[in-house]
């Protein structure tokens, strides 16, 4: 260790790996993963979200939840940005997924057309 | 048995070989005495007289000091020990939660007293001050494994795990 700056850089790198343990206050992508969701392909959606987040190096939590009662709309994905209300999207496909990330997560624009009524 | 002097020496040489390996890993100063004793006990299971003498020589420390150190620390043993070492915690937490009953049961099951080794050299029983797992009192350690929340009834069950 040659300097404090070097240590700080190392810290920033290391912090990313620990991101999931400090989830509060961070954007979250929550994938419905109950039997209904999985049957509808949620498993692949979840994986893809994770891959995307990793690839873009986004400070975003990808997690899963049980059935929200909208089984016919599965796969259902909820996006929760800090200090904003949750937005739920239905029938998410790989294509929509990229849109959600690009528009909603990165740029903060809700995709009204994909949005499900709560 | 016809054993010429020369053979005895060679045997001795062979017997001490593991010790020489241990010594090779140290600077062999006084400060290394306790670690060397620990390693030697690991090798031999206990600390035989010849080994102690050789350690004294190797470290340039008086034999009396080596022996004094060995008998001071409860970790060191001058007699062969059982294959499995059972340490029964007698710490405060274990005491108030019935550790002595566990010890009594142990003694009964093994037929030995505190600090003794069973005749078949399977088990050595010893009570120890505190093994620092008070949350699980009463607790014992068999070798490096901790068994917690014990009752006298559970004793045979624990022992069975180490019988063959």
């Amino acid at each position: 260790m040659k300097s404090l700056a070097e240590l700080t850089e190392l810290k920033e790198q290391a912090e990313k790996k620990l991101r999931v343990r400090k989830s509060s206050g961070k954007p979250q992508i929550i994938v419905g993963m109950d039997d209904c969701g999985i049957d509808a392909g949620a498993r692949e959606i979840l994986k893809k979200f994770l891959a995307e987040v990793n690839q873009r190096d986004l400070d975003v939590i990808v997690t899963q939840t049980e059935c929200s009662g909208q089984c016919d709309q599965e796969p259902v994905v909820t996006v929760q940005l800090p200090e904003e209300s949750k937005v739920t999207y239905g029938n998410v496909t790989a294509e929509k997924l990229e849109q959600i990330i690009e528009e909603h997560i990165v740029n903060g624009n809700i995709l009204e057309d994909l949005k499900l009524d709560q | 048995m016809a054993c010429s002097c020369g053979n005895a020496e060679e045997n001795q040489e062979q017997y001490l070989a593991p010790l020489y390996d241990v010594l090779a890993g140290y600077e062999c100063k006084e400060k290394d005495l306790i670690p060397v004793l620990q390693d030697a006990q690991e090798e031999y299971g206990y600390l035989p007289q010849d080994v102690l003498q050789e350690i004294a020589k190797g470290l340039g420390v008086p034999f009396s000091q080596v022996y004094g150190v060995v008998t001071f620390y409860s970790q060191f043993h001058l007699e062969p020990r059982g294959e499995n070492i059972i340490r029964i915690c007698m710490g405060t937490a274990c005491h108030v939660r019935g550790g002595d009953k566990v010890l009594d049961k142990m003694k009964e099951e093994l037929g030995v007293d505190d600090g003794e080794t069973t005749e078949d050299l399977k088990f050595t029983l010893e009570s120890v001050a505190c093994i620092g797992a008070c949350g699980l009192a009463p607790v014992i350690m068999v070798n490096d494994n901790t068994h917690g929340l014990l009752t006298p009834e559970k004793v045979p069950e624990v022992l069975d795990q180490y019988r063959d």
């Binding site: - | 002097c5 020369g6 020496e9 340039g60």
Partner: protein, 538 residues
């Protein structure tokens, strides 16, 4: 002693025993200190605990090696080569005390030349000491502020004894380790009053205080002091010469006070023949010793506990001997016997106390000039102490050597007289052991120590023992060209293969029946330390 006298002008231990603990490096050679001088050995070990370096060079793995930083076992009789090797390294690596050598010594150029060829490699060849050890020893000795050398009979009891001492003196001077506290060249005296016996004229060539008998002025001084007409102007015989002359029938009378040459002198058979041959032998002792058996008259003397007087120890310190018990029967103190005898021969010697004798000693002996019983009551005095105001001398040669400049006496390796051959294939050394003393007349008659170590023995290396089929405790016969003795075998690794060792304290197995009377040409010390012997199981 002769060697030291020639180098420094005085042959005594240069420094004090208490200074052992002040040295940065202690070099012990030819002294089995733990056995022969245990109290000094303890001080050395204590010094080591406090950080002093200890170098031990001895043919045997003696007790002190355990405490040593460097311990080497040179072949018996190769000390000069080893010492020259050290000087070679010191000069080569410029570790010597240049200023000191220039200001306080003479003959450096010759020394430099002489040690030139003693490279570590060559030294290894002669001595068996690894070249790197020679270098390490040299550095450890020479690179500190205060280095002290301690030696004993292992250095002097050789044909090359004086030369050995020269080599030691050279080493000390070369590094500036003479004339300074915690340094020095320190021969350890084996008996409690060897120093005193030498100091007080127990030598054939000098009067008390090392005043030459051949110096007319001094001769005259003593003639006047003693009130006698004419003292002999020629040096007398040394002990081994006396024995030889006695054997040849040239010596008619021999007066022995408290000595036991039958046990302590080399080549026992020869000594016995000599004592047989001498016409009139008087022995004055406390026991009927092996020597006394040959006497015509035996006079019973008082022992140390039965008389008053002084001893001078190894460090030139004069100390009281005080009477604690009465002598048995009619035994008398030695000095009273001489008074009586002198009277009968027409010379009045009239002293009422030992103190009175000391007063006379002080008068005629400059180095004892300031010593008196009154002062000794409450002062510790080491000679030289020339007058009443002189506090004595803790270490010698401060600022200047006794005879001005220290003189380097370059010496060459001299092979011992005897070497191992096919018949006598082991080299035997003799020496002391802790529990007994000298001829054993005192310790063998002291129950506790004799009970602890009742038997004589010969030390044999494990490997040799295996070859000879000898086990620990077996009876063995040790023979040299001069005789043979039987004793017990002690097997171990104190001696190296090819070498054996015997203590000389046991009359029943007298080691000196085997030793060689070959003398060092200058000091006339016999070569006790190297005799070729054979060993066999009885």
């Amino acid at each position: 002693m002769a060697g030291l006298a020639a180098s420094f002008g005085s042959g005594a231990m240069t420094n004090s025993i208490g200074e052992v603990e002040k040295a940065d490096t202690i070099f012990v050679t030819g002294s089995n200190t733990t056995e022969a001088h245990p109290v000094i050995a303890s001080k050395m070990k204590k010094a080591v605990k406090n950080g002093t370096n200890l170098i031990v060079a001895d043919p045997r793995n003696i007790g002190l090696t355990e405490a040593a930083d460097i311990a080497v076992t040179q072949k018996p009789g190769t000390d000069i080569a080893l010492l020259n090797g050290l000087m070679h390294v010191i000069i080569k690596e410029e570790l010597y005390a240049e200023e000191y050598v220039e200001e306080r010594t003479e003959n450096f150029a010759d020394l430099k030349e002489a040690v030139k060829e003693y490279t570590p490699e060559k030294v290894e060849e002669i001595t068996g000491v690894a070249a790197e050890d020679v270098i390490e020893m040299a550095r450890t000795y020479a690179s500190v502020d205060r280095a002290a050398i301690y030696y004993a009979m292992g250095i002097t009891q050789h044909k090359s004894g004086t030369a050995n001492v020269f080599a030691i003196a050279n080493l000390a001077m070369l590094t500036g380790n003479v004339g300074k506290e915690g340094t020095g060249v320190n021969p350890l005296r084996g008996q409690n009053n060897v120093q005193g016996a030498c100091d007080l004229g127990g030598l054939p060539n000098v009067y008390p205080g090392y005043q030459s008998v051949e110096e007319p002025e001094l001769k005259e001084k003593f003639e006047n002091a003693w009130g006698v007409d004419e003292l002999s102007a020629e040096a007398g015989l040394t002990v081994v010469e006396m024995i030889n002359k006695a054997a040849d029938g040239e010596l008619r009378g021999l007066y022995v006070m408290g000595e036991n040459p039958v046990l302590s002198d080399p080549d026992q058979q020869h000594v016995e023949e000599a004592l047989e041959a001498v016409e009139f032998l008087v022995v004055q002792d406390i026991f009927l010793t092996e020597t006394a058996e040959f006497a015509d008259v035996v006079l019973p003397a008082a022992c140390f506990a039965e008389k008053d007087g002084t001893f001078t120890n190894s460090e030139r310190r004069v100390q009281f001997v005080n009477k604690a018990v009465d002598a048995p029967g009619e035994a008398m103190t030695d000095w009273q016997i001489f008074c009586e005898l002198a009277k009968r021969m027409g010379y009045e010697m009239d002293y009422s106390s030992a103190a009175e004798i000391m007063a006379e000693i002080a008068e005629v002996t400059p180095i004892y000039g300031g010593i008196s019983y009154d002062r000794l009551e409450d002062e510790e005095l080491q000679w030289p102490c020339t007058d009443q105001d002189d506090p004595g001398t803790k270490f010698l040669h401060q600022g200047e050597f006794a005879h001005g400049k220290g003189i380097f006496h370059p010496v060459e390796h001299i092979a011992p007289v005897e070497a191992a051959d096919d018949e006598y294939s082991y080299i035997m050394m003799t020496g002391r052991m802790l529990y007994h003393f000298h001829g054993g007349s005192m310790t063998r008659r002291s129950a506790a120590v004799d009970q602890h170590e009742p038997d004589a023995y010969v030390e044999i290396n494990v490997e040799d023992a295996k070859e000879l089929g000898i086990e620990d405790g077996d009876r063995v016969k040790v023979a040299s060209r001069r005789g043979e003795v039987e004793t017990y075998a002690r097997i171990g690794s104190i001696v190296k293969p090819g070498e054996v060792f015997m203590p000389f304290h046991y009359a029943e197995s007298p080691a000196n029946r085997l030793t060689n009377a070959e003398l060092d040409p200058i000091a006339k010390i016999p070569e006790y330390k190297v005799s070729a012997v054979k060993v066999e199981k009885v």
